[in-house]
Each structure stands twice: as C-alpha cells, then as structure tokens.
C-alpha cells in the first residue's frame, strides 16, 4: 500500500466510527478545559494540574519508546533537560553579551524587550521548535549505539546517557563554551520570560494561571492527536511489529535502524516540548533537577497506565502527578496518617521517601497487574497468552 492511498483509508475509518464513540473523549476534554473557570485564577490546585498536564506530554513521549517500540529507556530525563535548557538559553538573559549586549528578539512582546534588554528572547513557539529539534537529534544519537544491543543493555546505555547529560547540566557552570556557561548549575538560570504566544494576550503566572493551563491543554491535544495518528500509521505498526518479533519484522522488510531511531527521536521530542514548557512555567532551570529519579517517575506513569495504551498513560500520568503533589504531602503526611504512624513509633514524612513510594508502585504494578490500569488490548493478550512474547525485545525467559 502506498503512502498516498494510506491517508484516505485512514480518513474513511475515522468517519466509519460513529460520533457516539468519540463522545466520552469529547466530554472529558470539555470538562478538563472548563475546570479553571471554577477555580480562582491563582490556585494551588491549578498549579498542580498544570504540572500534571505537562507530565502527560512527557509520559506520552516515553510511551512511544517503551510502550510502542518496546525499548526500555531509563534516561528519559535527558530530554527534559534539553527542553528546559533550550528554554533557559532562548528565553532569558543567559547570553548577556550576544549582539553587543543589545540582545536578540524574535516574536516577543514589548514588555520583554524593555524589561530584559539583553540575551536571546524568542517566541515560545520558536523555542518549542528548537527544543523538538535538539531533543530529537539527541534522542537519535543516544539511540544509535543501542541498535545492536539486547533489551536490558539498552536500558543501561540510555541510563548512562541520561546520567552523563544530567551531570553536564548540573556542573554546567564550569563548562564554558565561548565564554558562556552551559547552564548555571545549582544556581539556576532564572528568571525566564513568560509564555508568549501569538494572537493571545500576555501571560502572567504571578496573577493568573488560567492561560498556562489552557496552553498546556492545547499542547496535549496536539500531542494526543499526533500519538493516535502515529500509532495507527505505518511507522506505528512497524514499531509494534519490532517490539513483538524483531527478526520476523526485519525479514518482512521493516527498516530496523530507521524505525528504531524514529521511535527514539519522536519520543525524545515530546520530552523536549514538555521540558521547554516546564522551564518557562517554573521560571527557572536548575541544574539539579535532572536526576535519574525523574526518569523513573515518568516510567512509573507509563507502567501504571499500561505500556502502549495512550489513554492509560494519560491516566497514569495524572494519577502519579497528583500522588506527588497532593497525596503524599497533604494526605499521607497529614495529621491523621502521621498520628497513626507515630502510634507505631514511626516518625517520618512521606515527602522524604516519595521516590520509595514510586518504587513501591512500580514493584506492585509489575507483580500484580503488569498490563497496567487501562491496558492496550494487544498487550493484554500477549501477557495472558504469551502471544509473540518469545523472541521480542520483551523476551520470555526459559
């Protein structure tokens, strides 16, 4: 089937589904979009919701690599780092002496030009484009050496790359490239410009979080659309085929190198988008933020929701994000649980051990419900009957 004919067929299947099948999704999106109206413009819950939405983008990216293509990536934090770093570079005074100290501006509003006259200041959409490009290239470069490796070695190599990149950003203040530090290390690059989009009024996270919420929601809708289209595309089916049985897929004519590298690059670019957003939203790029634990945090979202299941991953990301921002500090560390625990002589806060909680979730999910909360149909079959599990990267053991 040629590419030209593939598109009309896809449109056809889209039309064949009745509107009713889309109704739950549409209702959910509308409800989520209306949520800020019922909250004050500056609100802790909104703040947490924005983080959760940003993590969805990241989890969807990792899902492409781990869920669709079956390549366990333990270094996903690298792409968060690249995205944030791009935001730090291209939306702040970091490169103060560029253009003889007069700054470089592209598509930003007058407020930015007057308040921070130095450095590079690009429109957020441009930053996202740069972040996508950089993260995708980095993803492909990291993916390149893993092509010949078996599954568990891939995990370790990606982990090693993630740590190396994390190290470079954390110690970035001592890495100088033509006079500029790579990052400010533990000092953080801060402040960053507010989010700046064409055709909408200025954003100001100090007074109103709603625009940020809607911006990240719009981002998710785009990412979700891309995800669904990718999953059903020729490329998406090639990923699944490689995951199921590499040898068979290759002998059917699937180009191994290109398909795998595309998985890494596409997955990484989502991480870059989300990283750029998180950098701008949190108004700081701290070199210490890019730790191995973050990769596991995102991986836990994917595992919890269900490897390869797009809606599952969305739910997993929201759940774990709120576990992190609400359940642990407010409920588990609340008065009730604390007094209960101190009754046993246990005196600690769950915030200290939040990563232990995520580790526990990983362990529990994998042992009790490995297909995740909302499993992909095909994956469920595989786990139940061992279909195609034997020779794939997710290899069954004797």
């Amino acid at each position: 089937m040629s590419r030209v004919r593939a598109l009309p067929e896809a449109v056809l299947t889209l039309r064949q589904k009745r509107f009713g099948e889309y109704l739950p999704a549409v209702i959910a999106v509308v409800a989520v979009a209306l949520f800020p109206i019922f909250r004050p413009p500056l609100d802790g819950l909104m703040d947490d919701a924005i983080l959760a939405l940003a993590y969805i983008v990241m989890a969807l990216g990792l899902n492409i690599v781990v869920g669709f293509a079956g390549l366990l990536d333990l270094g996903y934090v690298a792409f968060y780092a690249f995205g944030s770093l791009m935001a730090g570079w291209l939306a702040s005074d970091h490169f103060a002496k560029v253009n003889d100290g007069k700054g470089v501006f592209a598509g930003v509003n007058e407020f930015v030009k007057t308040s921070s006259p130095q450095g590079i200041h690009l429109n957020f959409l441009l930053i996202v484009l740069v972040a996508i490009a950089i993260a995708a290239i980095a993803g492909a470069i990291i993916g390149l050496p893993t092509l010949r490796l078996r599954g568990d070695y891939i995990a370790i190599v990606t982990l090693a790359f993630g740590e190396i990149i994390g190290r470079f950003v954390a110690n970035g203040d001592s890495v100088k490239i033509s006079g500029y530090a790579l990052s400010n290390g533990r000092q953080s690059i801060s402040p960053l410009d507010q989010l700046d989009l064409p055709f909408v009024p200025e954003f100001d996270s100090a007074t109103n979080l709603r625009p940020y919420y809607w911006a990240v929601l719009a981002m998710i809708l785009v990412v979700l659309f891309v995800n669904f289209r990718l999953r059903d595309s020729r490329l998406g089916r090639a990923w699944v085929a490689l995951r199921e049985d590499e040898v068979a897929a290759v002998s059917m004519g699937i180009p191994l190198v290109r398909t795998k590298l595309m998985a890494y690059a596409v997955g990484a670019s989502f991480g870059g988008i989300s990283g750029a957003f998180l950098g701008v939203y949190s108004n700081t790029v701290n070199g210490n933020a890019f730790q191995f634990g973050f990769s596991i945090f995102i991986l836990a979202m994917v595992i919890m929701g269900g490897l390869g299941s797009i809606w599952g991953v969305v739910i997993g990301a929201v759940l774990l994000s709120f576990v992190n921002t609400r359940l642990i500090p407010d409920v588990l560390d609340g008065e009730g649980v604390r007094s209960f625990l101190s009754g046993f002589g246990l005196d600690f806060t769950f915030s200290e051990v939040s990563f232990g909680v995520f580790g526990f979730i990983l362990l529990l999910m994998m042992v009790l419900r490995p297909e995740g909360l909302l499993p992909e149909r095909r994956r469920k079959l595989e786990l139940a009957e061992g279909v195609g599990a034997e020779e794939s990267v997710f290899e069954g053991r004797a």
Partner: protein
C-alpha cells in the same frame, strides 16, 4: 558482535569481522590505558615523577577490590537468570549501614583495643554479609521470582522499584545526607612505602578481605556440587531441572552468594571511606555493573579484573578531574564498552553469548 564469540567451522569470519574484533578488543584496552597514561606523562613532563599516579593506582586497586565484590554479585546473577539486579548496589549500601549500626551494638569505638576491634569487626563482617545475603534472597522471592515467565524487561523494572525502596529505607535509617562514622582502623595510616608510594591500612584491609572471599567463591563455584548446579542452571535451566537440579533453590543460592559479597563490600566501604549515605549504593551499583560488563558479564574472573580497572579509573578521575565528574567518566566508559565490546574484555559466559 555475537558471531565473533561463537566458534564455527563452516562460517569463517571475514577479514572485516576479524579486524573489528581486534580493533574493539585492543582499542578498548588502549582507551583504558590512555587514561592513566595521559596523567602519568603530564606528571613526568611537569617534573613531578610518577609517585602521584602511583598513589592514584594504589587507591584505585583497593577501591577496585570493593567494586569487584559488588560486581561479582551482578555477574553471578546475570550469569544465571540474565537479569540486571538493579537493586544490588543498594543492597551493598544496606550492608554498610548494618555494619555502622553494629559498631554501636558491639560498642566499637576509637578507644577499643586491638583484639576487641579485630573480633568485633569480624563479627560485623559476618553479620552484614548475612543480612545482605538474606535481603538479596528475599528480593528475589518477592520481586523477581513471580516474574520469571514474564517479558524480560518486567523484572528489570521491578528491580529499579526495589532499588528505590531500599534507597528510601536508607533515607529513613540515617537521613538524606552523608553520615561520618568513626575511623576505627585509622584507615589512612601508612603501613609501608613501596617505591615512594605510601600504602595505607585501608588499602591492605580491602585487599585482605577481598582476596580470600573471591578465592572461596571461585572454589565454591568450580569445585562443589552446588557450584556445579549453579553452572548447569546458568547454561540451561530447563535441562538442569530435568537432571534433578532444583532450579529455584539454585537461583536463591546465587542471590545469597551475591548478597554475602555485597555485605562484605559494604563493611569495607564503611571502614575505608569513614562515611556512608543512602545514595552510595546507586553510584557503587553502576560502577560495579560497568566493571562486570567490562570483564564480560557472567564471567567471575572478568568481574574482578573489571572492578580493579574501574577502581583505578574512578580514583584518577576523582583526583584529577574532580569527583563531581566521576560518574560521567565512568558512564562514558560504560557506553563505549557497551557499544564497541558488549562481550567485555575477557568474554561473557551467558546463554545468549552461546
């Protein structure tokens, strides 16, 4: 990459494959030697002589002895069930914490006499070994055994989960920062000086504990009935089961052995570094895993050699580049090995390698 390690009469390796084999093997060795050699040459050029690099290497070998103990745990487990026991480094950390806790229980302090110290530390060694060994067996029961027929990456993910749980047990135990512990053996005191390079008590201790343990382990694996069962299971678990070997017990035994060595490494680390913290296991785990892969995973001798080499690299990097960069250097080597010589320097002994 794997065809190179499979001897075959019919398919003769092509010239290109042979060249690649040579380049990857000796290129890696050259890369490993280049690191200390560079600093040795700059030292000599600066007129400082070789004593500084000598000190680095001595410290590297004694540190490497600890990494070798941990690496053996990785390589044993990988050899038998082809799982990267990600929690192994944290098991080593727990070993250190147990040893430190026992100082208090036995009343070991700076004022303890030589005999009391020797007996007390020996007891510490045994107990921390047993605790780490038992913990490792328990981890296998809870986190890996239920997933033995699951897709291969499932136990790796639970291993990461267990690793985080253990780290946070460490946080709850001794807090989230480094804890200084009493320097019981006066670790830095010089014992002898060989060719201008001082050798301290901690160096001797590390070697003195590691060498007998490694010898015992090798003898156990190669000479005893249980060791034979381990080797058989590593080669083909199904056939081993048909021959009447209890595969589950053998796997538990392997985890026990790995845990024992990690516990011993934990005590030496505590005595050597005189500080412990919850995150030491993560770094140690990755360094030791690098060592195991460098030697050829599944290969006991390789793990020890890899440990010593990586110890030297880590020491030189700590001393010359700065310890905040050491993980990047070690991981850089890890990536190079994985890419160019995944079977390691000596060659791996696993089912997949044939």
């Amino acid at each position: 990459m794997e065809s190179a390690s499979v001897p075959s009469e019919r398919v003769r390796p092509t010239g290109g494959a042979q060249a690649w084999e040579l380049i990857s093997k000796y290129g890696l060795i050259a890369l490993l030697i280049a690191f200390p050699a560079y600093y040795a040459i700059t030292d000599v050029a600066a007129g400082d002589g070789l004593s500084r690099i000598g000190e680095n290497l001595v410290a590297g070998i004694s540190n490497g002895a600890i990494w070798a103990l941990v690496a053996l745990g990785y390589t044993l487990v990988y050899g038998i069930i082809e799982l990267i026991n990600f929690a192994h480094g944290d098991n080593f950390m727990i070993g250190s914490f147990v040893a430190f806790g026992l100082y208090g229980v036995f009343g070991l302090g700076l004022g303890t006499g030589a005999l009391g110290l020797a007996v007390g530390l020996f007891a510490c060694l045994l107990i921390s070994m047993v605790v780490s060994g038992a913990l490792n067996v328990m981890i296998e029961r809870v986190a890996y055994r239920p997933l033995r027929n699951a897709p291969k990456l499932a136990p790796l993910i639970t291993a990461v989960g267990v690793s985080f749980i253990l780290q946070n047990v460490g946080v709850l135990w001794l807090g989230a920062s480094q804890v200084g512990i009493p320097d019981l053996i006066d670790a830095q005191r010089q014992v002898v000086e060989i060719a201008g390079v001082p050798i301290s008590r901690s160096d001797l201790l590390a070697v003195a504990v590691t060498v007998p343990l490694v010898a015992l382990l090798t003898a156990f694996v190669n000479r005893t009935r249980l060791g034979k069962a381990m080797r058989a299971t590593a080669q083909d678990p199904e056939a081993a089961r048909l021959m009447g070997i209890n595969v589950d017990t053998t796997i538990s035994l392997t985890f026990l052995l790995g845990g024992l060595l990690a516990g011993a490494g934990g005590l030496i680390y505590a005595l050597y570094q005189t500080s412990v913290w919850y995150f030491q296991g993560f770094t140690a785990g990755l360094i030791a895993f690098t060592a195991a892969v460098m030697g050829g995973i599944g290969n006991l001798r390789g793990a020890v050699i890899g440990g010593l080499i990586i110890g030297c690299i880590q020491q030189i990097s700590d001393n010359r580049i700065g310890n905040e960069w050491t993980p990047a250097v070690v991981f850089g080597y890890l990536v190079l090995i994985m890419v160019f010589r995944p079977q390691g320097l000596i060659g791996e002994e696993t089912r997949e390698a044939g």
